[in-house]
């Protein structure tokens, strides 16, 4: 197996960015299967549920339902991907979504215009991301600890903002954001697609994206090559906070109410989706395409198991088991190299 020497890639006006060295191997059938295993798993799931309930599961209406139900998770998982590309983790995305939604709701009820309320919520989300970035990049706390702590604090803030109550009764003009449809497709789906495309473009075509990948590949090598690792990490967390807050705003519009913990459950699911997606990467790293497949798997599982009538708690066990199986198989496959 021939190993390539580390190569240099240079974008216009940027310092040399060392790409991770990867083995030069032919793409054999086994490797193809291993890399696309998660995608094949998604297709298999669709096939199984389709076979069990063909006239129900395999319908346009149902797939639109699935897309709508995963749209908010897709946004949160997309921004979580950015943080995980850099080699970190953000446990506060769920609570930031809750706070973003709660803040928007409270401001709307106080008479603020929709754009102004949303801007404030997005700004606060970015600020939370900045705090996380500060703690991880400059104070050098572990991302797990820092974001776990900020998750707890942000949840508290959400309770303070809402005073623990359900906020409801928004202006009807706010409804279309979460409940509207365009060409029979729910608006949140369009937003999720837009965010995912943006993240993909950032990661693929921009200097900051290459720097994120470089830091995630080997932070020390990235630093030695002139990348300001701390600043790059910081920006990743700001993006995560911003995206999480956007997801929270959409969630509040979709549910027509805001509570202090409405978005909390999305955090674990977003991490699960990214890990599922990592199994599709040749180097085992976070990637937006894989994340979206992971999100789709989680959405298809929930939808399919509901449709065939599986008990909620059994669903949880199955979902956890499938995630473990997917990631474990991928790890075992990687070790055999």
């Amino acid at each position: 197996m021939a190993m390539e020497r580390p190569t240099e890639a240079r974008g216009a006006g940027s310092p040399p960015v060392l790409t991770e060295s990867v083995p030069n191997r032919r793409l054999g059938m086994g490797r193809v299967l291993r890399l696309s295993g998660t995608g094949i798993g998604l297709i298999l799931l669709i096939g199984i549920f389709g076979a069990l309930r063909p006239t129900v599961f395999l319908t346009v209406g149902n797939f639109v339902n699935i897309l709508e139900q995963i749209s908010i998770l897709a946004i949160i998982a997309a921004v979580q991907t950015v943080v995980m590309v850099v080699g970190d983790l953000d446990m506060s995305v769920g609570s930031t979504a809750s706070l973003g939604g709660a803040l928007t709701a409270v401001l709307l009820m106080a008479g603020w215009s929709i754009p102004a309320a949303m801007l404030v919520a997005l700004f606060v989300g970015a600020l939370i991301g900045a705090l996380n970035g500060l703690l991880v990049s400059y104070v050098k706390l572990s991302a797990f600890i820092a974001t776990l702590a900020s998750m707890t604090a942000v949840t508290g803030l959400a309770f303070i903002v809402t005073n623990g109550a359900n906020i409801f009764g928004f202006t009807p003009d706010f409804k279309p954001l979460g409940q509207g449809r365009f060409l029979s497709v729910p608006v949140p789906v369009y937003i999720a697609v837009a965010v995912s495309l943006l993240i993909w473009a950032l990661l693929r075509f921009t200097t900051i994206g290459r720097r994120w990948r470089a830091v995630g590949g080997n932070a020390e090598v990235a630093r030695l090559s002139g990348i300001r690792v701390d600043r790059v990490r910081f920006i990743a967390f700001v993006i995560a906070g911003l995206g999480a807050s956007l997801a929270g705003i959409i969630l509040v519009s979709r549910l027509a109410s805001a509570t202090a913990q409405a978005g909390d459950s999305q955090m674990m699911l977003s991490i699960a989706a990214v890990f599922l997606g990592m199994t599709m990467s040749s180097y085992g790293g976070a990637n937006i395409g894989g994340t979206l497949v992971g999100v789709a798997i989680l959405g298809v599982l929930t939808n399919g198991l509901n449709i065939v009538g599986v008990n909620t708690y059994v669903q949880q066990v199955l979902t956890g088991g499938i995630i473990i199986a997917a990631v474990a198989l991928s790890r075992l496959g990687s070790r055999r190299r």
Partner: protein, 331 residues
């Protein structure tokens, strides 16, 4: 690098200081510690220190009740300090043990059932700290001085009976939305199920909500998915509390179906939905927190004054709110 780290520390410290400065609040506190024993108020009467321990402050109806109790306690010279375990009902026992060892004047447990708090109740009993209950089960318990509770079985039965009435003339197929880990919801669910079965209803599915925090979304997604697989498969929905009922109502509205939803709680939002006439939510059972907290505060005052209490369990019925009488409940 060192300057940046120092800058980071200073910035983080400043942020934390600002947060603490902004946290000054005159509302109910959620402190982890309670003040032991009575303290003197300005008038010379001893102020009683009471720990209110719950897992349900995050649910709107429970929050309303507990905020009321805290205010009424204050008016009666009882300082009630709230501790919330955020739906962790097992942790209530630990907090009760802590409060008992700190020899507070009393403990109030909110929104539990006796079997969940045997450890904590025993610890309080051993420490001779009286335990009061706010919506803490419907069976009398010797070690509980006084429990004033919503009659959850009555709520379950009443909301189910109303659903049966609203479904008259249909095939009476009902979807039930539940959450057994919450003691009160479980009690009303059991009663609702019995009432529905006695009326010949076909309960087509029962779904457990995983977390009250995401209950509305879970209910919305579940009912949407159920309607996808059974397009005309239900005639009614019974939900364990207003929030999930609102989720179900959203799903039914999105599907363009005129199917009734009934529930329990009587929150402002639920009542507003019924009043609007456009929501699928047609009835809710309003919980009389005013009467419940009056009786509990009065019972605690009598106890502290050395009076004997007539009973250690008071059940308070609520009122069924429908389109016919919703105006009486609107603010």
């Amino acid at each position: 690098m060192k300057k940046e780290r120092l800058f980071g520390l200073i910035a983080a410290g400043a942020a934390v200081s600002l947060v603490f400065a902004g946290c000054a609040s005159s509302g109910p506190t959620q402190s982890a510690s309670t003040e032991a024993g009575s303290t003197s108020s300005g008038s010379g009467n001893a102020v009683k220190n009471v720990s209110l321990i719950t897992g349900s402050y995050g649910t709107p109806a429970a929050k309303v009740a507990m905020d009321m109790l805290i205010k009424k306690g204050e008016a009666a010279g009882i300082k009630i300090t709230l501790q919330d375990t955020a739906f962790d009902y097992n942790k209530i026992n630990s907090l009760m043990q802590d409060a008992a060892s700190q020899k507070v004047d009393a403990i109030v447990v909110g929104f539990t059932t006796p079997e969940l708090i045997t450890l904590g109740t025993q610890a309080a009993f051993d420490a001779k700290v009286p335990v009061f209950g706010l919506d803490a089960g419907v069976q009398p318990v010797d070690q509980v001085t006084l429990n004033v509770t919503s009659d959850n079985p009555w709520f379950g039965k009443t909301s189910a009976d109303e659903l049966v009435r609203l479904m008259k003339g249909t095939e009476m197929r009902v979807l039930m939305i539940e959450h057994d880990p919450h003691p009160g919801v479980k009690l009303r669910t059991v009663a609702a199920r019995e009432a529905l079965k006695a009326a010949g209803v076909n309960i087509v599915n029962e779904v457990q909500i995983k977390s009250p925090a995401s209950g509305r979304q879970e209910a919305l997604d579940f009912v949407t998915n159920y309607l996808t697989s059974h397009p005309k498969g239900i005639d009614g929905v019974w939900a364990g509390w207003d929030d999930t009922a609102m989720g179900a109502a959203l799903a039914l509205k999105a599907a363009g179906l005129d199917i009734p939803v009934t529930t329990v709680d009587g929150t402002d939002e639920g009542i507003a939905a019924i009043k609007s006439g456009t929501s699928a939510l047609k009835a809710t059972c309003w919980q009389d927190w005013g009467t419940i907290t009056d009786k509990l505060a009065a019972g605690m005052s009598d106890y502290f004054a050395g009076k004997k209490l007539d009973s250690n369990l008071i059940k308070v019925e609520g009122k069924l709110v429908t389109a016919e009488n919703v105006a009486d409940f609107s603010k």
